[in-house]
């Protein structure tokens, strides 16, 4: 039972990833085909507020897979080594392009292109991985033994194209929901062709699965067959709603419809294949962790998940509605006048020094420093365990006092005032 709960958790994280990062990967690719820099900058900003959180879901999916079904994690990852490594490299470059873009004032074409191309590469690689896993990984006793190019099949290639179409669709739907003006119109126009492409890809891949995948689907079980039928129907219904919604108010409808279609589609796929996770024969049971680990993981994640969802929804709510760049006046938070008290008793008193005094001071401080160093290295630990901790506490108290007093003096002398410092 625990392994099904874990499997559900992994699927939830994976589903959240596909739904959330899917749209921002799609937007990244769409940016490649847009020639207007203003719109492209807007796309990047849309992604920049959310991509950290979106990408976290694939990390959660990966890690829960490792913790709960280590048999699968250890078999699948080496089996799709090259596409996965390329995907990770593209992730890195994508993050780079995005962050450099969003920290630059205008639109930088180079970073924009890097962001777009690496989004495309990530998407294609994910498609290849999904295709390879669906069409089966030969394994022997939990160890993959299919060769380095196992992932290069016509089916996985098609799957890469299908995933690209799906992400583009999600991206267009998100853009319709979040933008205004020409960007929204473009997204509305693109939606239907992309939807048609996605449906075509799903049909080809769905029927092709029989051929590519050596496993036997057990549709003779009535419950499974009925559930599968219902989910496919729900997915198709949502697809139809998205078709109707593109280019029409309310703008959020296509994305919600696409989201529901994705979820229903994923569930349909799982219904068809469970308990097999990786064809031909790797099942949930065979790959699972000991029950104790799963229960610990499920309780830990189960307790955190409501909180995680709550603040993710909050973060999403902060950036709700149409994208608007923050106005400069909103950014300039009003400041209160800072009253400056100049304390005459602590102003600088320069003491005339003699050479001897300087030498003595330097020697003294050097000895103090070396002594503190020796104490911190616990050289006197043989004499008494207490020496080092006590000396450290005393020294720390002294340096903390020096810090606070020094800060107060500097503040009183106006050394931390922007306008005063500028005038000087």
């Amino acid at each position: 039972m625990a392994e099904y709960a874990s499997y559900a958790l992994i699927l939830f994280a994976l589903g959240a990833y596909v739904v959330l990062d899917g749209y921002d990967l799609g937007i990244g690719i769409l940016g490649l085909f847009d020639r207007n820099d203003e719109r492209r900058k807007e796309y990047t900003e849309l992604v920049a507020t959310a991509w950290d959180a979106n990408e976290s879901w694939i990390i959660l999916a990966g890690v829960t897979l490792w913790a709960a079904l280590p048999g699968i994690y250890a078999t699948v990852l080496p089996g799709v080594y090259l596409p996965l490594v390329v995907m990770l490299l593209a992730f890195v470059l994508r993050g780079l392009g995005l962050e450099m873009q969003s920290s630059a004032p205008g639109y930088r074409r180079g970073w924009g292109r890097l962001f777009g191309v690496s989004s495309l590469v990530v998407t294609l690689c994910q498609g290849l991985v999904v295709g390879t896993v669906l069409s089966g990984l030969p394994q022997h006793g939990g160890v993959f033994d299919g060769g380095a190019l196992r992932w290069l099949t016509p089916y996985s290639g098609l799957c890469a194209l299908g995933v690209t179409a799906l992400y583009l669709l999600a991206g267009a739907a998100w853009l319709q929901a979040k933008t205004e003006g020409s960007a929204r119109r473009r997204a509305g126009r693109l939606g239907r062709p992309l939807l048609a492409l996605t449906v075509a890809a799903c049909l080809v891949l769905g029927f092709g699965l029989e051929v590519a995948d050596p496993q036997h689907f057990r549709f003779d079980q009535p419950l499974r067959a009925v559930l599968f039928g219902l989910l496919v129907a729900a997915s198709a219904g949502c697809g139809a709603l998205a078709w109707y919604g593109f280019g029409r108010e309310p703008d959020a409808r296509p994305f919600i419809a696409v989201l529901c279609a994705q979820v229903a589609g994923l569930l349909a796929l799982v219904t068809a294949t469970a308990p097999v996770v990786v064809p031909p024969g790797l099942t949930v049971h065979a790959a699972a962790s000991p029950v104790g680990s799963q229960v610990f993981l499920l309780i830990g994640i189960g307790c955190c998940m409501p909180v995680v969802l709550a603040y993710n929804i909050y973060a999403w709510w902060v950036f709700r509605g149409k994208y608007r760049p923050p106005t400069p006046t909103a950014l300039a938070v009003p400041a209160k006048r800072v009253e400056v008290h100049i304390d005459l008793t602590v102003s600088h008193i320069v003491v005339k020094e003699t050479g001897l005094w300087t030498v003595a001071r330097r020697v003294g401080f050097t000895l103090l420093g070396l002594g503190m160093l020796a104490v911190a290295q616990d050289v006197f630990g043989g004499q008494g365990e207490w020496i080092a901790p006590v000396a450290l506490v005393l020294f720390s108290a002294g340096s903390l006092t020096a810090w606070l007093v020094g800060d107060r003096r500097a503040a009183a002398a106006g050394q931390f005032e922007i306008d005063r410092a500028a005038r000087r």
Binding site: A74, L331, V333, K336
Partner: protein, 449 residues
């Protein structure tokens, strides 16, 4: 079995990706706390200086955090990609630990960073401060879990082994394993210290150039305050950690002290080890100091040598020794500088000592160097084990062809080299551009009409 070449390539790849990843948290943990403090100070005092600080360091934090996230994603998958047998064996223990890290820490940071970076003008200032604290809290939590997982590999506890797979017997012991008690405070201090040098060095550069003076003074004062407080503590914690490792992983201590025979009471500064013959070709030492550091004030005790460990369980002395020296010598320099800063503060010259500021600029990457050296010691000193005493690194690797491992290694080296260059150039540009100039008079007029 995977070929020895695959093992070597996978090790190099992991080392490069891990070191690369490490440099980002090494800055962002401390920076996130600085940001939260600065914004809170701004809310309380309304002194525009703190807003200026917040916005400036946020620019560097944003890109560093983003790169840290993607580099961390790589790490998450690498366990399974290159180290499949290891992943299968420890998944029920470490997979869970890292899973908890992702759900508690990673999401917390990722959820709130959007607000912290882009929320100004969209949410109330109070919410901004809350988001900043949550990001900081997330980075601290993350450090905790990761150190727990790595410490378990150094000194596994609370487990049973069933059919080649580890299972937790007692989660408390797994998470708070004995090594964690030493290594977590050591690492936590290290990341705070390295961030302090980073911001302190940059602030000192402004003082050298006589630019943005208020900003530079405020930042330098905070950085040196933190350093004077933490550096001695860190030396003590580090010493305790080394002593603990001497007990639990004797081979690591033997390797990083650079002795073969147990007949040396000196402290080695430079060694050229010859593992084949089991002796050093060259050794430069300070006599008796090794014994003194080992708490023997008479200076006679001998530092244990690597010949005590059977040959098939010896780590590489080169990496352990020089990793440790890089960390330790940098730490001594850092301590000296922090102490000098304290003296200057006592004498009221912290903001005018030009020579000190110039030296401070050179200290900007000091913390990163020390952390890298320390991790090289910790990880290569644990070899030939991946889980100490339990799984050998050579048995941990996936069934990959050498070509696959070589290709991916080349890919990571190429991409990360570009990334380092871009990151450094970005920091330099941001620093040269300087903190944005807040027009205080217009701000005041806006409030007072």
């Amino acid at each position: 079995m995977a070929s020895p070449a695959t093992v070597e390539l996978s090790r190099w790849q992991f080392a490069i990706t891990a070191i690369f990843h490490m440099t980002f948290p090494a800055l962002t943990v401390g920076l996130s706390i600085l940001l939260a403090v600065a914004y809170t100070a701004y809310l309380r005092t309304r002194n525009p200086l703190y807003l200026q600080m917040f916005r400036f360091w946020r620019k560097i934090f944003a890109v560093g955090f983003g790169l840290g996230v993607v580099a961390g994603t790589v790490m998450t998958f690498e366990f399974g990609l290159n180290w499949g047998s290891y992943a299968h064996a420890v998944g029920p223990v470490l997979g869970v630990t890292i899973g908890m890290e992702v759900i508690t820490a990673f999401f917390l940071e990722a959820g709130f960073i959007g607000i912290m970076l882009y929320g100004e003008g969209r949410v109330r200032p109070r919410t901004m401060a809350f988001a900043s604290w949550m990001v900081a809290f997330g980075t601290l939590l993350s450090t905790t879990w990761i150190l727990s997982a790595n410490s378990w590999m150094q000194d596994p506890a609370g487990y049973t082994e069933v059919a080649g797979q580890f299972q937790a017997r007692d989660w408390w012991q797994v998470l708070f394993n004995p090594a964690f008690a030493y290594r977590f405070p050591h690492m936590l201090l290290a990341v705070l210290i390295s961030a302090a040098w980073f911001v302190g060095g940059i602030a000192a550069w402004y003082l050298v150039r006589q630019r943005s003076l208020a900003f530079a003074r405020r930042t330098l004062s905070i950085a040196l305050g933190v350093l004077a407080l933490l550096m001695p503590v860190q030396l003590y914690v580090g010493d305790e950690t080394a002593a603990f490792m001497g007990q639990h992983q004797p081979a690591k201590l033997q390797a990083f002290e650079g002795n073969w025979k147990t007949d040396n009471n000196g402290y080695n500064l430079v060694v050229v080890p010859d593992p084949g013959r089991g002796k050093d070709d060259l050794r430069i030492e300070i006599p008796h100091l090794g014994a003194v550091i080992g708490k023997d004030l008479t200076g006679q005790a001998h530092v244990p040598g690597l010949l005590q460990t059977p040959p098939d369980q010896r780590p590489n002395m080169w990496s352990a020794f020089y990793g440790f020296r890089a960390m330790y010598f940098t730490a001594l320099t850092m301590f000296a500088m922090a102490f000098a800063g304290l003296v200057l503060r006592l004498r009221g010259r912290l903001f005018t000592a030009r020579r000190f500021h110039r030296l401070m600029v050179w200290m900007t990457p000091a913390g990163l160097i020390a952390i890298t050296g320390g991790w090289i010691t910790a990880e290569t000193g644990r070899q030939p084990w991946v889980v100490y005493g339990k799984i050998r690194t050579s048995d941990a690797v996936s069934q990959l062809s050498t070509a696959e491992a070589a290709l991916s290694l080349a890919g990571f080296v190429a991409v990360y080299a570009v990334l380092v260059a871009v990151w450094v150039r970005y920091i330099v540009r941001v620093v040269k551009a300087g903190p944005e100039v807040l027009d205080v008079t217009t701000l005041l007029e806006a409030t007072h009409g």
